[in-house]
C-alpha cells in the first residue's frame, strides 16, 4: 500500500536554534497517528514543518507519493491536507457561517463529502451560532468550528494540534467523539495531544518526540507493552 505521508529526516531551526533533529515517520491511508511529547519537544514545529509554515532546512515531506518540500504552504494544503491549529485560529472578523463558506472546497478528486450542511449536523451547536463572530464563541464551539472549517476542505489528512487543550471534560469527550467519527469516515489523522489514555484507543500508530527526535514509534499494542517507558518520556 502506498504511504499517505512520509516524513524523512526533518531538520528544522528557529534562527540558530536546532529544533528538529531528523524526524522520521510515515502515515498509512486511513490511519490515525498520535504525536506525543512534553512541551517544547518539537511537536508543533513538526506539524509546521510538514505544512511549510516553518520550512525545514533539510528533509523531505512526501504526500501521496508527491514531494511537497519545495511547495509553498497553500499549495501543500491544496493536496488535500487540512490543519486545525493550536489555539483554534479563529478569524475575529468572520462569522461562523463565513468561516465555513470561505474554507469550503472539493478535494482533488472533485468530491465534497464534507459539506457545510454535514458540518452543522455534526456540530449542532454551531447551527445556533451561525451569525456569531469567531471570537464570540466558547472554547469548545471555537474548536468545533476549527475542525469544521478543516473538514469542509475535504481532506485526505487532517492534522490536529492540541484539539482538546483547555476544554471542559464534557466538551473534550464530544471533540474526541467527533475525531472518532472523522477517522471512521476514512480520513487519516495526525493528532498532537497529551491524553495518552484516549490516544492509545483511538490511534493506530504512536510517535513520541523528545528534544526534536523520535524516541518511540509503534502501534497501540506495543505502546501498551511499553507504557511505563512512554509515560516517562511524557512526564506523566
Amino acid at each position: 500500500m502506498t504511504k499517505l505521508l512520509q516524513v524523512k529526516g526533518l531538520h528544522t531551526y528557529y534562527g540558530e536554534s536546532h529544533i528538529l533533529h531528523g524526524v522520521n515517520f510515515d502515515i498509512q491511508p486511513g490511519q490515525a497517528v498520535s504525536l506525543m511529547g512534553r512541551n517544547g519537544m518539537g511537536k508543533t514545529t513538526t506539524l509546521k514543518s510538514i505544512l511549510g509554515l516553518v520550512p525545514p532546512r533539510s528533509g523531505d515531506v512526501i504526500f501521496q507519493g508527491e514531494e511537497l518540500s519545495e511547495l509553498p504552504t497553500w499549495q501543500r494544503m491544496r493536496k488535500d491536507i487540512a490543519y486545525v491549529p493550536e489555539g483554534r485560529g479563529m478569524f475575529h472578523n468572520l462569522t461562523v457561517k463565513e468561516h465555513l463558506e470561505m474554507a469550503a472546497r472539493a478535494n482533488r478528486n472533485g468530491e465534497r463529502n464534507w459539506t457545510y450542511q454535514r458540518v452543522l449536523e455534526t456540530f449542532p451547536r454551531l447551527q445556533q451560532r451561525l451569525s456569531n463572530l469567531g471570537t464570540q464563541l466558547s472554547g469548545g464551539e471555537q474548536q468545533m468550528l476549527a475542525i469544521g472549517r478543516a473538514l469542509v476542505t475535504n481532506p485526505e489528512l487532517l492534522i490536529l494540534d492540541e484539539a482538546t487543550e483547555g476544554l471542559a471534560p464534557l466538551i473534550r469527550k464530544e471533540i474526541w467523539q467527533v475525531i472518532r467519527t472523522i477517522k471512521e469516515s476514512g480520513i487519516s489523522t495526525l493528532i498532537v495531544d497529551k491524553n495518552i489514555q484516549v490516544l492509545k484507543e483511538l490511534c493506530d500508530q504512536h510517535i513520541v518526540l523528545v528534544k526534536g527526535q523520535v524516541v518511540f514509534s509503534a502501534g497501540s499494542e506495543q505502546l501498551m507493552h511499553n507504557l511505563t517507558e512512554v509515560e516517562s518520556y511524557l512526564g506523566v
Binding site: L53, M77, F91, E98, M102
Partner: protein, 320 residues
C-alpha cells in the same frame, strides 16, 4: 441583505435621496453643484483606497498614481477633437490601469508594512516626476481636454457631460454603483478570504489560499477604480495635471479613509464629505485654516477610534 449594517442602511437612505434632490435646490448655483461633484469623485477614489487599506491591510501611499493615470490615459488614448463614447473609454481606462496595477502590484506586494509604503511611494513619485518633467505631457501645467465624451448607449443618451447637473448625476450614480460593487465583493467568497488574510495571513495560507494572488487581485480592482475616479475628475474640469499624481493626494485620501472609518467603505464617503466640508468652511473663516483643520482632525481621530462610521455603528448597532 446586501447592506447588513443598520448604520450603513441609514447612511444610504439619507445620503442618496438627499444627493438626488440637492441639485433641484441648487439650480441657480452651479458652483455648489460642481463642488459637490468633485467631492463625490474624490469620495469614489477614497473608497477604492479604503478597500485596500481597511479590508486588505495594504497600506499604500501611491494610490494617487492611478488617480492621475486615469486622467493622463484618457488624454493619451482619446482623439483630441472628437467626442468619444464615455462608457467605452471607461472600459479602456479601467482595463489599462488594471494592467499597469498588475505589473506594479506584482512587485509591490512582495513587501509589506513600512516597506510597502516606501515602494508604493517610490512608484508614485517616479510617475509624478515623469509626467511633471515631460514637455509632451504638459509638464507642471498639465494638459487640456477639449472635447468631452458623449454618453450614448444604443443611441440613447442620458447625460450631457457639459451640463454640470448631468455630470453631477453621473458621478452620483458612479458613487452608488461603486458602493454596491464593494459591498458585493466583500460579501462574496473572494471578499471573505480577503478579510481572513487581513486578520491573519498565516492562518489563511494554511487553509490553502494563495494570499499573494488575492492581494494582487484586490490591488488591481482598487487601482482600476482609482483610475476611473481620476478619469471623472479630468472630465469634470477638462484638464489633467501632475498634482493628481502627487503623494499628498494619496495622503489626503488616507486621512479621509481613517476619518470615515477604515474598511467600512461607506465611511470613505462620510470621511471625504466631512474633510472637504471642514476644508471649505474653514478656509473661508481664517487664513490659518490648515492649523484649525489639523487640530479638528486630530480631535476627531482621537474621539472616534474607528472613524465616524465606527462611532455611529457603536451608537446604532446592536450586536448579535
Amino acid at each position: 441583505m446586501l447592506f447588513n449594517k443598520r448604520t450603513e442602511r441609514y447612511f444610504i437612505w439619507l445620503f442618496f435621496p438627499l444627493a438626488l434632490l440637492l441639485p433641484l435646490f441648487l439650480e441657480q448655483n452651479t458652483f455648489y453643484v460642481s463642488k459637490l461633484t468633485s467631492v463625490m469623485i474624490f469620495a469614489l477614489f477614497v473608497m477604492s483606497l479604503d478597500y485596500l487599506v481597511g479590508r486588505c491591510g495594504l497600506i499604500t501611499l501611491g494610490h494617487a498614481m492611478f488617480y492621475g493615470l486615469g486622467g493622463y490615459l484618457f488624454w493619451m488614448i482619446a482623439p483630441e477633437y472628437e467626442a468619444v463614447n464615455f462608457w467605452v473609454y471607461t472600459f479602456y481606462i479601467c482595463m489599462i490601469a488594471a494592467a499597469v496595477a498588475l505589473v506594479i502590484g506584482f512587485l509591490v506586494l512582495r513587501t509589506s508594512g513600512i516597506y510597502m509604503i516606501m515602494i508604493t511611494l517610490a512608484f508614485a513619485q517616479m510617475t509624478f516626476y515623469f509626467f511633471s518633467d515631460s514637455i509632451e505631457f504638459g509638464g507642471n501645467d498639465g494638459l487640456f481636454i477639449y472635447v468631452k465624451p458623449e454618453t450614448s448607449i444604443f443611441g440613447l443618451s442620458f447625460f450631457d457631460l457639459d451640463n454640470p447637473t448631468h455630470f453631477y448625476y453621473l458621478c452620483l450614480l458612479s458613487l452608488f454603483n461603486t458602493l454596491v460593487f464593494f459591498r458585493l465583493l466583500i460579501r462574496s467568497r473572494f471578499g471573505r478570504v480577503v478579510d481572513a488574510i487581513h486578520e491573519n495571513p498565516g492562518r489563511t495560507t494554511a487553509l490553502g489560499y494563495n494570499i499573494f494572488l488575492f492581494r494582487l487581485m484586490s490591488y488591481v480592482i482598487a487601482s482600476a477604480l482609482g483610475a476611473y475616479a481620476g478619469y471623472l475628475f479630468t472630465l469634470q474640469y477638462g484638464f489633467v495635471n501632475p498634482s493628481m499624481l502627487a503623494w499628498t493626494t494619496s495622503g489626503s485620501a488616507l486621512v479621509m479613509s481613517i476619518l470615515g472609518g477604515m474598511g467600512s467603505i461607506y465611511g470613505a464617503v462620510l470621511g471625504t464629505f466631512v474633510y472637504e466640508g471642514l476644508h471649505y468652511s474653514l478656509e473661508h473663516l481664517t487664513e490659518h485654516w490648515l492649523l484649525f483643520m489639523g487640530a479638528l482632525i486630530i480631535a476627531m481621530v482621537m474621539l472616534f477610534k474607528n472613524g465616524i462610521a465606527g462611532y455611529m455603528e457603536k451608537l446604532l448597532e446592536k450586536r448579535v
